[in-house]
Symmetry: C2
Subunit: 278 residues, 2 copies
């Protein structure tokens, strides 16, 4: 049976697969499919969120460049991330505390059941504080401060919309410690270039250092996929190469995509993307 991702209006990805589970949660429609090229995959409102075979690219790039820049951060906040992949990568660092705020508890339950290789047991780690709530609300109300805030949200449609506003980024800035870093995904550089541009502009307004990082992720069609980092003190694009290498070696991250050279190369942008964020 073929199913289609209908995120973009005039282009779609069709994948042959078998529907394993379908559930309408209070926030979105969740489907799990079994496929050949991607293993099992999770669709939220008909947009591919993550797949067993290529999720590591997204999750490694969402986590390691920021945490290696900080080097041994103590406390990390994940907004969203219900599939557990970002959490798994964060816990490879010697953090003391991870708070995850996910709005839809069904995403966590379905992922634990159907995509166990994503969280790999990370949800039972003692360092995790799991909160089922709206991430924007939590950030406004918490008194805690974090070294890193990782925004692992779907596209700016549906429940994640509030996580793409200037006001939200200001709140993120406020819950970060003095040297803190935030990172978020910002979609396809080719098919969602407006999303990259507008969010880069917002984050640049608030953070002294902002940078765009790119990676090619098979299930996210449209050329390079992008991430935006906002940093209070560290110029993330200017880290010393030798330091990066030593840090990466010392942590033994067991990554399948990320390595110390990728840390630098992922900030090098093609001319068209550079222009777009000028």
């Amino acid at each position: 049976m073929w199913f289609y991702e209908t995120l973009h209006s005039e282009i779609k990805l069709g994948i042959k697969g078998r529907l394993l589970h379908k559930k309408k949660t209070p926030y979105q429609q969740c489907c799990i499919y079994q496929t050949k090229n991607f293993g099992r995959l999770l669709l939220l409102d008909d947009a591919i969120q993550t797949t067993e075979y290529d999720e590591y690219i997204y999750h490694e790039m969402l986590v390691h460049p920021a945490l290696i820049s900080l080097y041994k951060p103590k406390s990390v906040l994940i907004v969203g991330g219900g599939d557990g992949g970002a959490l798994r990568e964060v816990l490879k660092h010697p953090v003391e505390e991870v708070v995850m705020v996910e709005i839809d508890k069904d995403v966590i339950e379905l992922s634990k059941k159907y995509l166990p290789s994503l969280s790999k047991g990370a949800f039972s780690d003692k360092r995790l504080g799991l909160i089922i709530d709206d991430g924007a609300k939590y950030i406004n109300e918490t008194g805690k401060k974090f070294d890193a805030v990782i925004i692992d949200s779907p596209d700016p449609v549906g429940p994640a919309k509030s996580l793409f506003s200037l006001k939200f980024y200001q709140s993120v800035f406020n819950v970060l410690k003095a040297g803190g870093i935030m990172i978020r995904q910002s979609g396809s550089t080719f098919l969602q270039s407006g999303e990259l541009k507008s969010n880069y502009r917002k984050i640049s307004k608030i953070f002294p250092y902002a940078a765009v990082q790119i990676a090619a992720i098979p299930t996210y069609i449209g050329g390079f996929f992008s991430f935006i980092l906002g940093s209070k003190k560290i110029n993330i694009r200017r880290l010393n190469e030798k330091n990066i290498e030593e840090r990466v070696l010392s942590l033994d991250l067991k990554t399948k995509y990320y390595n110390s050279q990728i840390q630098k190369a992922s900030f090098i942008l093609p001319n068209k993307i550079k222009e777009r964020i000028k």
Copy 2:
């Protein structure tokens, strides 16, 4: 009207478009569609070859890393490349002669008519010698030697199959001058990883230096798209960064993807891809 690329058996790209032209040539089925996200595009045997909006990525990366490594090569052979995009980029370098051997003259005629922004008049350049013939046959029979051989062919199905063999790469080696470089496309690193692996192995057997280069190209789905370079003398991954920068500046290539930093970054591979070519 939706049409679908059916290159892969369990995954397909659907694009909304209007069919402008359809022709069965002696070698393949050619279709030209008008689309919103990609402008006009060329399908050969239902595989997307090139599109107006993202062709620059493929053509710049197929040409500039090799020619910048050589710096001011005099003679270049293009095998295939009937759409004219590679030719356009080669002619930005101060070459004295370009020979293009394309098997299917209809691809040239259709591209000139429906995709004029690809060749941008390059087919009337006096430095071009255009030959309608099988590239493998030409390479075996010619007495000429070239600084660079660019293999701009479709996937190893249909008329291009012979351009992926060990024997062919040996012939390419033979028509290259002492310091010469060849480059070819080698498909998606995720969906066609066997193609990358086997061709890298063949090219490594024959050339003292072989390297894989990656780029994200929206219409070629499946994560990073790859290219393999074979070099007789120059260690293409170890070029001095300052030299590259000076060379790129001196030529004023007016590129939309490629720049001197991309020259280096495109050789930096994610762990999984590194493993695949070990």
